[in-house]
């Protein structure tokens, strides 16, 4: 299938879903007297989106020289590593509140380096810990942007002091 057709089908689906959702935008009493309501602009852009997607799909059948998404290209992609990274980012979001900034960041960076096959464990530990601690100190102590270090770190610092 051509790249244009795949993209256009995606936008047709998205625009149709968006168009469907336009009708669930609440109406205020007296809306009928309004020149432009909360759903007017979305309504017209949804219709434009659907129209352009359909034109693109039709063109993808008419024009012969369009680029194709080849199986060879898909096979050459490193899908496994990319998926690991996407999961790592979701995991980072999840751990940010639970573990606090310093630990969550250090773990995310270490996982990232490991996924990309960095071999030196010493380098991984030094960079991940120094970046997370350094950035935390920079934000909290220099720029005055408060960011939660995490309960574990807070308790540790409290116990030491």
């Amino acid at each position: 299938m051509t790249k244009n057709r795949i993209g256009s089908l995606f936008f047709l689906a998205f625009s149709t879903f968006y168009f469907y959702r336009v009708f669930s935008i609440k109406k205020m009493p007296g809306n009928q007297f309004e020149i432009m309501t909360a759903s007017t602009f979305p309504f017209y852009i949804a219709i434009t989106g659907i129209a352009i997607s359909i034109i693109l799909i039709i063109l993808s059948f008419i024009e012969k020289d369009q680029a194709k998404l080849s199986l060879q290209y898909i096979k050459s992609l490193d899908l496994k590593t990319t998926l690991y990274f996407i999961l790592a980012m979701f995991f980072y979001g999840f751990t940010m509140k639970a573990w606090g900034f310093i630990i969550a960041t250090a773990v995310f960076l270490a996982i990232g380096f490991l996924i990309l096959k960095e071999k030196s464990l010493k380098k991984i530990l030094i960079i991940s810990i120094s970046v997370s601690v350094g950035f935390y100190l920079l934000l909290n102590n220099v720029m005055g942007v408060y960011i939660d270090a995490g309960d574990l770190i807070d308790n540790l610092v409290g116990a030491i002091s």
């Binding site: 993209g7 935008i25 979305p42 693109l56 024009e63 995310f108 380096f113 990309l116 960095e118």
Partner: protein, 505 residues
Amino acid sequence: MMDGILLGAATAFSMYNILMVIIGCFAGTFIGMIPGLGPISAIALMIPITYGMDPSSGLILISGVYYGAIFGGSTSSILINAPGVAGTVATSFDGYPMAQKGQAGKALAIAAYASFSGGTIAAIFLLIAAPALASVSLSFQSSDYFALMVLGLTAVAAFAGKGKFLKAAIMTIFGLMLATVGTDSDSGIARFTFGRMDLIDGISFLLLAMAAFALSEALMNVLENHKVSKQEEDELKKDIGTLKLTKQEVKEIIPTIGRSSVLGFFVGVLPGAGATIASFLAYGMERSFASAKDKLGFGKGSLKGLAAPESANNAACTGSFVPLLTLGIPGSGTTAIILGALLSYGIQPGPTMYIDNPALFWSVIISMYVGNFVLLVLNLPLIPYIAKLLAVPKQLLLPLIMFFSLVGVYLVTFNNFDIYMMTTFAVVALFLRIVDFPMAPMILGFILGGMMEDNLRRALTISDGSISFLWERPITLSILILTIVLLLMPLISEFLAKMKKRKES
């Protein structure tokens, strides 16, 4: 007026105030480089420091921070494709490809020269015509703004190669759709929030820009996993920190810088328009002016494509001081913070400010020029070192880029839902990149969407629902005619080229 200018010059060139400009530019550049901390955060951080200062020195420091932060934002756009500020999105279109080609130093140098020139030209304009321009900015009404937004959207033509206009158009629509998520500014009704409180404020620009550019670029690098040989890598890194521009290259970008600076300044004068529209318009205009051969280079590391938005966004920053200082109207979020600072000093900006407080008014304007000069002197020697960032091995650099992008967005709201949403957008952006749909029009549509809807609603209300507002006001009509001309320009030039060919044969 001359007395006021001389008084302002004496204040601006005092040792203390020059030191303030230097500190401001340095701090601003540093803060601006961190995604998520744009000029608004940088200025907000500086306000408590300026409380104990004389109003002129405080405002001079704040202005320096403003410029510095915009320049710092360009640096992260060029080096890691992470535009932390809307005004530097267009910088990444050609700046990042240049950095990818091993010309990071040159790209940063062009950004510095263009910013300096844009700021300088705009400062001169400001010096000459600030009070007079105030009336121009007041004469703009909602219908004119709507037309200006439509003109801004025509910049999508600049991102559309031959036969790709419809792809750019659907991406713009996609951006407009995303801009409608959240609470409707007029009625207060929630739209497309699916009952989630996290979406009630809409999607933030930073989140979308970071996901579409920085994160998806990093993921694309992981996905395609290009193995570069040691020899190729050495070749790429050889000139990474070089700032040298050839005579030919300088000649090429001078007219671009001139045109874009003037355009940027005048767009900046209009409240609400600002550096973002200025940079996109300048990019679009340059592409329209370029020869057929040069056009192909846009988006792939064109010098003109980098110089245009850079000079325009700096000129617009200077221009945005016109409505602020002469009318007391903040044209952007950043100038609103500056207005707050002025009020805290007990100064009410307005038409009489340059008569009541000439030292403050003119010293700020003159210090803008000094600030631009300081930025250039301060940043040029640092460029080779900043550019070396790209020499960090890929297995270390990519997770760091992802970290800075994610945390930059997290810092704004401290809501981990934003990290999930950003990752999801990055995956969608990755898919769209694979199928060759351009990201820039989506960002353009997103930025202009909200403003466009608000101004359309206002214009329709004023004209009682009639679309006659499109042709009733001369400013609106002129802008719309310009829009049509710009849209038809590729067709006209193609037609003219065909005619010329026919004549020759």
